[in-house]
């Protein structure tokens, strides 16, 4: 009876992902085509980048999360379009500025959580609103400018059959997995998330670790925003809207717990793919909007409950 349970606990998310792909292929002949898979994976790469950073934050535990990521993405988009004026020559310095912006936002979030004791939900929600306000001040509500061709290439181009954005995400994913699993810093994150008191007793600077995870989240949000801007090609004040919730859902679906200390970026990637696939499938099935919401929400709950570890009461 119990022999099957650990398999679902360990691999449930991947089994669900495979099942979702299989069902999607049966439901829509358009699903399993190279072009459609590119349509799913290319914007999913941006969500994946954001979700990787979100994983670092959630691993810290204690209800840690980052609601400011979508706001960072949108702000990065307008910074690039309004400062590069569509010129490749300016892309590199402006991108560095964007990344710096993301990191500063993350550091501020981390500072508020650790040094001021603000709940992560409130700290990052407040930051999200502040950035929105700053963005509206900066753009006066209607961003101008265009994106450099090289950024468009990063967002929409392919190397062979693979979208460049997906390859970039894969690189980031591998890097994040190595940091989490193979470095002392990674072990400190898991230790802090597993038991913060024990981590403190062990001499870890937990505040620094927590601040670092928020900085990483800000960094990946900025990178994700750059790629999403390249994919979209239009400067808009709300690029990435909803990514804060989607990235958190992907992380939790992928097996990282709000309690912290367990999970990782590979599971998160599966969560991202499930969300991106669902968003694509409801459109391929031509469902009316109301049904789209029901199917997407229902499938996310189903995916999580499919393999969820039962709490020991």
């Amino acid at each position: 009876m119990s022999s099957g349970k650990p398999i679902f606990e360990e691999y449930g998310i991947y089994i669900f992902l495979i099942a979702l792909f299989a069902v999607s292929s049966l439901l829509s002949p358009a699903f399993l085509t190279i072009e459609n898979l590119r349509n799913i994976f290319t914007p999913a790469a941006s969500l994946g980048m954001v979700a990787v950073g979100q994983t670092f934050v959630i691993l810290i535990g204690g209800g840690a999360l980052d609601l400011s990521v979508a706001s960072v993405m949108a702000t990065v988009t307008v910074i690039v379009s309004m400062n590069t004026h569509g010129q490749d020559a300016l892309l590199f310095p402006v991108s560095l500025l964007c990344i710096l912006f993301g990191i500063v936002v993350g550091l501020t979030n981390g500072f508020l959580v650790t040094k001021r004791g603000v709940q992560p939900f409130i700290a990052t929600l407040g930051m999200m609103v502040i950035i929105q306000g700053l963005r509206f001040l900066y753009t006066k509500g209607a961003p101008k400018g265009t994106f450099p061709p090289f950024l468009r290439l990063l967002g929409t181009g392919n190397i062979g059959p693979m979208p460049i954005s997906v390859l970039s995400f894969a690189f980031l994913l591998v890097l994040a997995a190595i940091v989490l699993k193979k470095t002392i810093f990674g072990r400190k994150i898991y230790a802090t998330g597993g038991n913060i008191k024990a981590a403190l007793i062990s001499g870890y600077n937990t505040d620094l670790i927590i601040i670092s995870t928020y900085a990483i989240s800000g960094f990946t949000a900025a990178i994700g925003g750059l790629y999403l801007a390249g994919w979209l090609g239009i400067s808009d004040n709300w690029v990435g809207e909803g990514y804060e919730v989607d990235s958190i859902a992907a992380v939790i679906m992928g097996g990282t717990s709000f309690e912290g200390g367990k999970g990782g970026v590979i599971g998160t990637t599966a969560g991202v793919l499930i969300i991106a696939t669902l968003y694509n499938l409801v459109l391929l099935l031509h469902l009316p909007l109301q049904l789209q919401y029901i199917v997407k929400g229902g499938a996310i709950i189903l995916a999580t409950s499919f393999y969820a570890r039962k709490a020991a009461y």
């Binding site: 829509s28 358009a30 699903f31 085509t33 072009e35 459609n36 349509n39 914007p43 509206f136 753009t139 006066k140 509500g141 209607a142 961003p143 101008k144 400018g145 265009t146 929409t156 999403l228 994919w231 979209l232 090609g233 239009i234 400067s235 808009d236 004040n237 709300w238 690029v239 809207e241 968003y279 694509n280 459109l283 391929l284 031509h286 909007l289």
Partner: protein, 362 residues
């Protein structure tokens, strides 16, 4: 001669009227009245007459796209033009959420406003609160996005039904009455979206050879426009002969998706500069019915007339224009597309505004 007249109309529309003469201004309004589908129903506003200066409340559904930002600023800029009549303008923004907007309106009422201007998030959700105010004898002007009932003094827009109908007639005629189309709407439940779709459906009913493959909402987001269009391209591929968008906001995203897929079929939209320029850049056939953000300013002017006890039209149509890259039997361009698309201006630029430099979002 006809072309010359059209060019003159368009020039006035582009803002020449700000400094231009009475004749040009008159021509615009003549045109608006010609487009009015019925005779004007005038509302007697003597019961709302008050002594100036006034306090005005403006409850905006949201500023989630650049059109809404332009329109929002039109309200503010117009209020500033009447320092003798307007003591205070209170502005709220509901972030697209009906429940927040209802709270916003209650807050505005508590501030003691003399008249309320509302751009409703959804026509059903805002109907009860606005109807209640109307029945209590409080003056309400709705603008751009109306409510379900006619419980208001005046509704200001540029007939959404006409724009929806115009775009659809052009698409059907461009396809010579035969083919498959997909439709991309804006915000679900928003009055303007419902009306544009209703106008389009009326036109569509006369073209039995045109089949609608799918209708999806895009929340006036370029991102959603691209995502939805990508999925439609995957589903239907070369079966899609035309794309009906009720705005250039999702239209510009749909264009991106089609370009990426190597598709080029006729598309409809509005006067968003990014949409118009990309149509030229990628050589698409397109039509646009302009939806002028200046309707925000007109709503303020109308509010002042109401408070001064002047009769006002129950439905107030702001002048607009049509342009097309390729004309059809019934849809002619008031101004050539190439003259309206302005590559030197930002993608989020909207023609049809009256904003002074101070209020421009650039």
């Amino acid at each position: 001669m006809r072309k010359v007249i059209f060019v003159l109309i368009a020039l006035t529309f582009l803002g020449v009227t700000i400094t231009g003469g009475f004749a040009a201004e008159q021509r615009q309004w003549d045109r608006a009245s010609l487009w009015n589908p019925s005779t004007l129903r005038m509302i007697d506003t003597k019961k709302y007459k008050k002594k100036a200066p006034y306090t005005i409340g403006f409850s905006n559904a949201g500023i989630s796209n650049s059109w809404a930002v332009f329109m929002h600023r039109e309200v503010q800029a117009e209020a500033e033009r009447h320092p003798d009549l307007i003591k205070k303008l209170y502005v709220t923004e509901a972030k697209g959420k009906a429940d927040k907007q209802i709270g916003d309106i209650e807050d505005l009422m508590a501030k003691g406003i003399d008249i309320l201007i509302v751009r409703a998030t959804t026509e059903a959700a805002l109907d009860p609160v606005i109807s209640r105010l109307h029945k209590q004898g409080f003056p309400v002007i709705t603008v751009s996005k109306g409510i379900k009932s006619d419980n208001y003094v005046s509704f200001v827009d540029a007939s959404n039904q006409v724009l929806g109908r115009m775009n659809m007639v052009w698409l059907c005629q461009t396809l010579q009455g035969k083919g498959n189309i997909v439709m991309l709407g804006g915000w679900p439940g928003a009055g303007s979206v419902i009306d544009r779709k209703a106008g389009a459906d009326e036109a569509l009913a006369r073209y039995p050879g045109i089949k609608v493959l799918d209708y999806q909402y895009t929340h006036y987001s370029p991102t959603e426009g691209k995502t939805v269009m990508q999925a439609m391209v995957q589903s239907y591929g070369k079966k899609i002969d035309g794309v009906w968008c009720d705005s250039g906001l999702q239209g510009v995203g749909a264009l991106e998706a089609m370009v990426a897929a190597g598709m080029n079929v006729p598309i409809t939209g509005d006067q968003l500069n990014g949409f118009m320029c990309n149509v030229v850049k990628y050589q698409f056939k397109a039509v646009m019915g302009a939806y002028p953000p200046r309707m925000g300013a007109e709503a303020v002017k109308l509010a002042l007339r109401v408070l001064q006890g002047e009769s006002v039209p129950h439905h107030f149509n702001v002048p607009t224009l049509v342009s097309a890259t390729d004309e059809t039997a019934d849809i002619k361009a008031d101004v050539p597309w190439s003259e309206l698309a302005q590559p030197n201006q930002p993608e989020n630029w909207w023609i049809g505004h009256t904003l002074p430099k101070k209020w421009l979002p650039y």
